[in-house]
């Protein structure tokens, strides 16, 4: 009974970080999606220069640990623009995730048979129109499984934004473990929350995958 009460107290304390974790994850995923799709388009359909830009972005950002990117964005770039830790952390995480999403979408774009682009051009569509209404809808569907994987990774990487002072689930667990000196209880509760969040996210993504499956 005592154990249960402790667990409930711990959980309710850590739960205050739940919305922060969800907020950081959603914002980072959205930013990463925008970067990822844009950079993937540049890599596949851009001219020499744009291709190069997108490649350099994806290679360098994937080579640098996410925590370093968060530090650089918060302490270097945010010196000129005044960003809150929450925004800076989320944007940095999104910027990093964008590089991985670039690779996901590049693969998806390239998986659409090139003949479709030729055919679209032949019936008088512009390149942009063809990408928009022929390629993109298929590529997004093809990218979904890999993207779902990236989504769960970003959820877990959201623990890193604490270095700039964002009190998400993991930090709440640290705080309560420092107070009660019961790390197993604190981190066990955090584990439980991450597990639940990941399961929910996976269910949603699977539903979207089924709903928008290509009828070949």
């Amino acid at each position: 009974m005592d154990f249960l009460q402790d667990l409930i107290a711990t959980l309710s304390f850590i739960l205050q970080g739940l919305w922060v974790t969800i907020g950081v994850t959603l914002l980072a995923l959205t930013v990463g999606l925008v970067f990822g799709v844009a950079m993937a388009m540049l890599r596949v359909y851009g001219n020499r220069f744009l291709r190069q830009v997108a490649t350099v972005y994806s290679v360098i950002v994937r080579a640098v640990p996410v925590i370093v990117i968060i530090f650089i964005l918060y302490f270097v770039i945010a010196r000129f623009v005044n960003l809150s830790p929450f925004l800076a952390g989320s944007l940095a995480l999104g910027f990093a995730s964008g590089a991985y999403q670039t690779e996901i979408f590049r693969g998806a774009f390239q998986a659409v048979p090139p003949g479709q682009m030729v055919a679209a051009r032949a019936i008088g569509m512009s390149r942009l129109q063809a990408i928009q209404s022929i390629i993109l809808p298929q590529a997004v569907r093809l990218a979904l499984p890999a993207w779902g994987n990236e989504a769960t990774l970003v959820l877990k990487d959201s623990t890193l934004v604490f270095v700039v002072g964002v009190p998400e689930i993991f930090r709440r667990a640290q705080q309560i473990s420092a107070r009660t000196l019961e790390p197993f209880m604190a981190f066990g509760a955090a584990l439980l929350l991450y597990l639940i969040l990941t399961m929910i996210a996976t269910q949603i993504l699977q539903w979207i995958e089924r709903r928008y499956r290509l009828q070949m």
Binding site: A9, F13, I72, G165, Q174, Q175, L181
Partner: protein, 274 residues
């Protein structure tokens, strides 16, 4: 292909140069931020003092079950804010991020049981100490070690919190002098993690601030072997941006006032500090 390699190398160099700016720049950057008299006025104009801390260090700073910042430092900084006539906003972050945050102007001040070491003093400015400190050597509950002076710790496996003055002392007094091998020294993100390793017998000693060690030893069944003043030369101070002389003068005055009128003493007792 060659061109591409060159382009990558250039980019990496550019990035390194950019990050180098941040570490070398504090003196240049303090000129545009607080130096020409702005910070104190800015704080008063905003009506808000933004203070960074690492809230995992009871009884100095921790978070209670309702999510409030509590502890000696927290009560003290609120008393300072009251004297300043501004609201105090507390920002929790890792201890390692505090100096960088105050340097970059993300926060106005740091109160985190922090000592004004020479290295830190090059990066930021410190107020006068608000509390002199002692350190404790902590061992397992059944430890038979006899530590009568700090040097008795020579050659014994020892742990400390990363980036603390205690870790610095171990390095200069024990490792650099050859008394203790470098692989006998263990660095922990937090003191309570080190305490667990002492309890489990992974390390024999833990060197940390004396006051929190009393509660920690009590709760984890550890034994305090020695309380000493070996790193007490600095005492605990509030860190502020380099060159913020107006803020330093005002904070020094307020701290002295709080020391003189017994407020600090009162806050110490309320938080169970000797």
């Amino acid at each position: 292909m060659k061109k591409q390699v060159v382009a990558y190398l250039l980019l990496v160099v550019a990035l390194l140069a950019l990050s180098a700016c941040t570490t070398v720049q504090p003196t240049g950057q303090s000129a545009d931020a607080p130096a020409e008299g702005g910070l104190l006025a800015e704080i008063q104009a905003a009506g808000k003092l933004v203070v960074g801390t690492s809230a995992d260090y009871a009884p100095y700073e921790s978070i209670d079950a309702d999510g409030n910042f509590v502890g000696f430092d927290m009560d003290l900084i609120r008393a300072v804010g009251e004297k300043l006539g501004v609201e105090v906003e507390i920002q929790d972050m890792p201890f390692d991020s505090l100096i960088a945050s105050v340097q970059e102007g993300k926060i106005d001040a740091v109160i985190a049981a922090m000592q004004a070491t020479a290295e830190r003093d090059q990066q930021v400015d410190f107020t006068i100490p608000y509390r002199m400190t002692k350190d404790a050597f902590v061992g397992a509950g059944d430890s038979t070690l006899v530590i009568e002076k700090p040097e008795d710790a020579a050659g014994i496996s020892i742990g400390a919190q990363t980036g603390t003055v205690q870790e610095g002392w171990i390095q200069t007094a024990l490792v650099d002098t050859g008394l203790t091998a470098a692989d006998q020294v263990f660095s922990y993100e937090r003191a309570d993690q080190a305490a667990l390793d002492v309890a489990n017998g992974r390390i024999q000693l833990l060197l940390m601030d004396a006051e929190p060690s009393i509660a920690l030893a009590d709760e984890t069944g550890l034994k305090i072997l020695l309380i000493t003043e070996l790193t007490a030369e600095g005492g605990k101070s509030i860190a502020i941006p380099d060159g913020a002389s107006d803020l330093k003068a005002e904070l020094d005055r307020i701290i002295q006032e709080l020391l003189d009128d017994g407020t600090v003493q009162q806050i110490q007792e309320a938080n169970g500090l000797p």
